[in-house]
């Protein structure tokens, strides 16, 4: 082999591929710098600082934004997740049942609640149910109402996730369990579901993130001061103080919950992929 056999062929336009790549990258960095400089020179930093990151206003939010807002957000999310998980498991099992009407019901439930806006479900639970049945109270007050609304919707999504998890467990597992004398139910509880839930922990974690954000819809339920969660809290204080800072701080509080959970879900997913190999 001789050296002149590997001489690079000149790209059309007289530029090598490397030179073109450099030019393109340089252009992108240049554009970025121009935009940053433009925004920085146009923005009124003083005004931005007073409105969005007002230290005095921010300090005034504590500790209530944590002890009331964050706590209630966490409570609504947890209750909604709990209701969604239990209901979702029941519907997933109905969806896989040999009894035809169960499968019908499960399919209808899943399609209905996946097709409705969550806000409508919240209004149904908060306004519609008391209107239809005067005097009936959903137990647990705001927590019960929010948890029920979130749970009803989450159950539809979780049912599909759980069903997929159950179906991902190889058929031989059920056969092995049954041939040891386990009943169908026992095999489901001791062998199939533990494996199915291991498979679906990452998507369930993502569902938890979604619920945490969706709990902000409690805003529309009409709740007392002590029942305010992050969004309502931020909105009320922004109105009182005539300042945007409370909304920013409430947003940061959400991210404190959601970003670590998303990272956790991604790590669990990556670990599963490694284990499957």
């Amino acid at each position: 082999m001789t050296a002149d056999q590997v001489t690079p062929v000149a790209a059309p336009g007289g530029m090598s591929r490397r030179a073109r790549r450099r030019l393109s990258l340089g252009g992108q960095y240049g554009l970025f710098i121009v935009i940053v400089v433009l925004v920085a020179s146009v923005a009124n930093w003083q005004q931005l600082h007073t409105n969005f990151a007002n230290w005095q206003v921010a300090k005034g939010l504590f500790p209530e934004i944590i002890t009331v807002g964050l706590r209630n957000t966490a409570t609504y999310t947890a209750v909604g997740f709990g209701i969604g998980l239990v209901l979702g498991l029941v519907i997933a099992l109905m969806r896989l049942s040999p009894v035809l009407p169960y499968r019908w019901f499960a399919t209808a439930y899943i399609e209905t609640f996946r097709g409705l806006p969550l806000l409508l479900i919240f209004i149904f639970v908060g306004v519609g149910v008391p209107l239809a049945f005067p005097g009936t109270n959903i137990p647990g007050g705001a927590v019960g109402q929010a948890g029920l609304a979130l749970g009803l919707a989450a159950a539809a999504y979780m049912a599909e996730t759980i069903r997929a998890g159950i179906e991902a467990v190889p058929r031989g597992q059920l056969e092995a369990a049954r041939s040891l004398g386990m009943s169908q139910g026992r095999a489901m509880r001791s062998i199939i579901l533990p494996q199915a839930f291991r498979i679906i922990i990452p998507p369930l974690t993502n569902e938890l993130v979604l619920l945490c954000k969706d709990s902000s819809l409690v805003l529309f339920l009409g709740i007392t001061l002590e029942q305010r969660e992050l969004t309502k809290f931020g909105r009320d204080l922004a109105g009182q103080q005539g300042n945007t800072t409370p909304i920013i701080v409430a947003g940061i509080c959400y991210l404190i919950i959601t970003i670590p959970l998303s990272l956790l879900a991604r790590r669990l997913e990556a670990r599963q992929r490694r284990e499957q190999r």
Binding site: P170, G172, Q173, E175, A176, A177, R178, S179, L180, G181, M182, S183, R186, S190, I191, P194, Q195, R198, E275
Partner: protein, 279 residues
């Protein structure tokens, strides 16, 4: 004296281990078993051999009702499992099953795999279940792998855990569905060694296998199946070494002499070939 089991109403210790008559099984329009009459005496080791698709795995799976027979009767350790009123879970407790693909529970350790059915089905206490599990893991040569998860075990080790799992239930008959077909050739010996030990200890065994040397040395009786019927059965010395039927002879010459199979171009190219078409 016979003791009646209150769950199933059958007498423990009575009758043959397995008794099958007129067994038929179809999957859709495909009739896999076309009238099988067959039995296994208590303490007997019976090996079922035959080409892929001959129905031998289906036959085995009908013995513990993993497949529902289309017609015929199956009696196992005295219980007629084809009777719709039978408590099949109670009968399966007395039948051990070992699968080609092991089917260990991957979320449990070796010890967990061997204890879970003892605990949940036989309602044994934790200490007793673990003692029995350790005894059986030791019996299959895996005393040092008690805390290992199946994913960390070789195929041969996994299959031996699966055997221990079945043995821990105290079965009256053991079913083996091509237990070595999914194993690398160098791991086959360990599993066959364990099975040989079981046979010597007097366990009633029904083994679907491609391992002709195992069948010849361990089996009391060999059954040759082809096309969903039993073609020929008898002592291994006769069936394997001096078969009566042409079909048996053709099958054995392919299995025992892979070179001949390649020349004919009609048989499986190796005797460890998978038999999944049967399932």
């Amino acid at each position: 004296m016979t003791i009646m089991d209150k769950d199933t109403g059958w007498a423990a210790g009575a009758g043959r281990a397995v008794e099958i008559s007129g067994l038929r099984k179809s999957f859709g329009s495909n009739e896999v078993l076309r009238g099988i009459d067959f039995h296994v005496e208590r303490g007997e080791v019976v090996c079922v051999i035959g080409p892929s698709g001959s129905g031998k795995s289906t036959l085995l799976r009908c013995v513990n009702l993993l497949e529902e027979p289309t017609a015929g009767t199956v009696r196992v350790v005295g219980a007629e499992i084809t009777d719709r009123d039978v408590d099949i879970d109670a009968v399966r407790r007395r039948i051990g099953m070992v699968f080609q693909s092991f089917n260990l529970f991957p979320h449990l350790t070796a010890l967990g795999n061997v204890t879970i059915a003892q605990r949940k089905v036989l309602k044994r206490g934790k200490a007793e279940a673990e003692r029995i599990a350790r005894e059986n893991l030791e019996r299959v040569g895996l005393a040092d792998k008690v805390d290992a998860y199946p994913g960390k075990l070789s195929g041969g080790q996994q299959q031996r855990v699966a055997i221990a799992r079945a043995l821990a239930m105290g079965p009256e008959v053991m079913l083996f569905d091509e237990p070595t077909s999914a194993l690398d050739p160098e791991l086959v010996g360990d599993v066959l060694g364990v099975m040989r030990g079981l046979a010597e200890a007097g366990m009633t065994m029904l083994v679907v296998t491609h391992e002709m040397s195992f069948a010849r040395e361990v089996a009391d009786r060999v059954v040759f199946m082809d096309g969903g019927v039993v073609v020929e059965e008898g002592p291994p010395a006769r069936v394997i070494s001096d078969p009566e039927h042409e079909r048996t002879r053709a099958f054995l010459s392919r299995v025992l002499d892979p070179a001949a199979a390649r020349v004919e171009g009609s048989g499986p190219s190796d005797k460890f070939g998978s038999d999944e078409a049967n399932a």
